[in-house]
Amino acid sequence: MDKVDGTEHYNFKAPADLATLQVIILDTNPLAWATFEKSSSLSFPAALSQLLIFANAHLAFSQSNRCAVIANHIDGVHFLSPADPGTDHRDPGEADLTPEDLKEIANQNASKYRVFRLLEDEVRASYRRLIKNTTPEAVMACPNSSYLAGALSAALTYINRICFGGTGGRSSGVPGDEKSKVNSAGGKVDETGRTMHAKILVVSVTPDPANQYIPVMNSIFAAQRLKVPIDVCKLRDSTVFLQQAADATGGVYMEPEHPQGLIQYLMMGFLPDHLARQSLILPTKVDVDFRAACFCHKKVLDIGFVCSVCLSIFCEPPQGAVCSTCQVKLDVTSLENIGKPVVLPPKKKKKKKAIDSLPESGVASAAESPVPTE
């Protein structure tokens, strides 16, 4: 529209005009929600209604704002909105309704803003489809499964498509290239080639998927690159992964004390877009746990030993100085005097003894390591 009257040329420099894409990643693990409901009296349908109000509020801010909802379900990741184009679009719930019911619904919806209704209908229909295909047995088979990394990856690729036109947010840095980008995108573009801003909101009730550490971290770094903040609304089980995600990407991390009032947290904490956030003090966690855990015993460490080849972390020099992850013989000579009293005379014999006497299991902590008594 702006192209026609030529104003595009003048306001192209102002990034303020860019719309925002909100991607909501929602845990839909039924068991996790059932357990959560018992402790907090917030049921999933209520939470979904409140989330949809949040999404509508986002859409109401600007005509060109967009919203996507991704379900992190027990059997994988599903797009709730935009719904999978490949699947059946009919709402499985509608089959049970009489024509009178349908009429009433139509009357109810007649005065609703069309964009709101489309989103609501799509999310609810996709969600019902999802639940219809989920059996209690499947829920029991994987009670705590979470595909956080997959959901974040899907969200980021979707953002890459919608906000960057698939360019990955990498401006080529070649002078004169920006111009061509404006033309090809046919709209407003900021200096990194993005046509929209984006943010991700993760609403989570499941614990950290411990086996997805690397993929989750990779997703966090990709979000950092795209300058997409990851907001986290952690309803139960505070997690390290999501804390780090919010911290690294500049997102908001919240653990609502009163989950029944979810809508308040959503509206106050997560709704502001990136421009508003610049002038707000956001509720975010300050003390993020960045300490590493050793690969051998999962012990949280202050000081650790790192293999220079594969960057595995150990709480003590591995046995025989061979890295257990990459099987490379490591040079430990520079560490020989570490962890021993400074006054100890550096005798070859004693060092050897110290290494030999490492227990087989390698469970010895620093305190148990042999201390010369003579």
Binding site: G93, V174, Q212, L311
Partner: protein, 542 residues
């Protein structure tokens, strides 16, 4: 490539250009050795004496590729299919690389040498070589530390025959960026450049670096000659002795001594020497150096065990001095060994010398060690299983030319078979899609439009080209594998135990057999609960 004929036109009419870009014009840096060595340094005469291998070959300019020769009409008479195919082929050419997990030098020490001689005042790169180089250098510093968070960098300039120290070996990108701003941008490019002086200074910088890290020099060379105080071959030999790898980006033409320098310091491999074609290629060559180098078999660096501290972050009520800059700061990281406060990570504790990092810094490098596998092009025979990209939801083209492709199959089944094998081999080797196109042209077949689907070999999910590039360049995860089957994820993650362990969370989540029954009941109830009636009211009770 379409640019090759443009270049041809340019160089024939390029009288106003001060120096003919002979080597670059042909479409590759490799061919110019014979011509450009004349212009190279006097000391490289020895290398000049050898008969140039290019003498028997056809000259580059005799081998003109016309972009319109590649365009073949499809069955319906349109060329849209070919155009999309060519576009995707160029996109993918950059992408396909060897993805076998290889040992890489993750802890790097790199000296960036910038040319600040009078040759940098040339305006063949916009706005000038000098300004563009400094701009790219700034991007390079940022990208280098993003890719290699636990590595070190130092910057040296070649100015007026001398080596000019811009920044010292260090791991803080901010320091290097300030140094560039203060010391390099203010310099007026002047005089000759001296390879030997700069390399010797770089060698001195790298002399004290620990043996477990890499030692590299990245040289941006704009001039075509070098004025050296001594014999540069002595310097090359001492670089080899100190196991320093040199990469060079040439801005004008190939110089024989540079090639020799790169070959000798990289075990006879001169792929680390590139001459730029244009601004985009310049950036590409420079940014290629941000990827950690592959560790050569002959053990250039000694792997060792490093002691590192993982400090915790603190926020204080009142400001206190940090021990690194003596600035008043309110927060920072506390060294776990000596409790000194530093304001920036990763760094070395200024008091006790312990390397201080965050676990996230280590995590940043993991994708270099376990790269994501290349995805393969999906043939039309399997394309019907998907209608849209799994992760970005953009639609795939439907098979409009279904009939024509069937015809091709009937007429010449070997073509489709060859196509299938070519695309299958993409995964294993670094074959680009270009040979496949040639193959089809030889057969004079109307080419099939590409399916525009790319499949992960593990989870068989179909993705579009943009997602392919994005996942391989930025994300390093397959969205399909991460969200389809837990077993596959485990198989990959088994090699790599998670660093933030929580056996606790797992144990807590594990359902005990006694409560199993109640949980099934709960789940059923839950499923029923969540069947929200369509059109149910959206209002929440306050």
């Amino acid at each position: 490539m379409a640019d090759s004929d443009e270049d041809f036109v340019l160089s024939s009419s390029g009288d106003d250009r001060p120096k003919a870009r002979g080597a670059g014009g042909g479409g590759g840096g490799g061919g110019g050795a014979a011509g450009s060595s004349r212009r190279s340094t006097r000391k490289s005469k020895r290398a000049d004496g050898a008969p140039a291998p290019g003498a028997t070959k056809r000259e580059k300019w005799e081998d003109i590729q016309r972009s319109w020769d590649n365009v073949v009409e499809g069955a319906d008479g349109s060329i849209a299919g070919t155009v999309i195919g060519l576009l995707e082929a160029t996109k993918r050419k950059r992408l396909l690389r060897d993805t076998t997990p290889i040992q890489r030098g993750i802890i790097r020490h790199l000296v960036l040498i910038l040319d600040l001689s009078s040759a940098m005042l040339e305006k063949d790169l916009r706005p000038t070589r000098f300004l563009l180089t400094l701009r790219y250098a700034r991007d390079f510093v940022t990208e280098y530390f993003e890719q290699n968070p636990i590595s070190q960098l130092s910057i040296i300039g070649m100015h007026d025959g001398l080596a000019l120290r811009i920044s010292d070996m260090g791991g803080n990108p901010a320091d290097h960026l300030t140094a560039l701003q203060e010391k390099a941008f203010t310099v007026e490019p002047k005089g000759a450049s001296s390879l030997q002086n700069a390399l010797e200074m770089g060698r001195a910088e790298l002399f004290h670096t620990p043996t477990h890290g890499t030692r590299e020099i990245l040289l941006i060379f704009g001039a075509l000659s070098s004025s050296d105080p001594g014999d540069i071959h002595d310097t090359i030999n001492s670089l080899i002795e100190d196991r320093i790898q040199v990469r060079i980006v040439g801005l004008a033409a190939q110089v024989a001594v540079c090639r020799e320098l790169v070959m000798k310091t990289n075990d006879g491999d001169d792929s680390a020497y590139g001459v730029i074609l244009d601004e985009g290629h310049y950036r590409e060559l420079m940014m290629a150096a941000t990827t950690p180098p592959v560790t050569k078999t002959e053990e250039k660096s000694v792997p060792s065990l490093l002691m590192m501290g993982f400090p915790s972050r603190t926020v204080e009520k009142h400001e206190s001095l940090c021990s690194c800059h003596s600035n008043l700061t309110k927060g920072g990281y506390i060294c776990p060994r000596c409790t000194a406060k530093v304001c920036f990570l990763p760094t070395e504790c200024p008091c006790c010398g312990l390397t201080l990092i965050l676990s996230t810094h280590l995590a940043r490098s993991y994708h270099h060690l376990f790269p994501l596998k290349n995805w393969v092009e999906v043939p039309w025979s399997e394309a019907h299983t998907s209608t849209h990209c799994w992760s970005c939801q953009s639609p795939f083209p439907t098979n409009q030319s279904q009939t024509s492709s069937i015809k091709i199959k009937i007429r010449n089944p070997s073509t489709t078979a060859a196509t299938a094998t070519a695309s299958r081999s993409n995964g294993a080797t670094t074959t680009s899609t270009a040979p496949k196109n040639d193959h089809q042209q030889q057969q004079q077949q109307p080419p099939q439009p590409p399916t525009q689907r790319y499949a992960c070999t593990d989870c068989k999910t179909h993705f579009c080209i943009d997602c392919d590039i994005f996942t391989h360049e930025s994300l390093h995860n397959c969205p399909g594998c991460q969200s389809l089957s837990e077993e596959r994820v485990k198989a990959r993650a088994n090699m790599w135990p998670p660093s933030i362990g929580d056996g606790t969370a797992d144990a807590a989540g594990e359902p005990t057999s006694s409560s199993m029954r109640t949980q099934v009941a709960e789940a059923t109830k839950m499923l029923e609960n969540s069947k929200i009636a369509p059109g149910s009211s959206m209002e929440v009770e306050n």
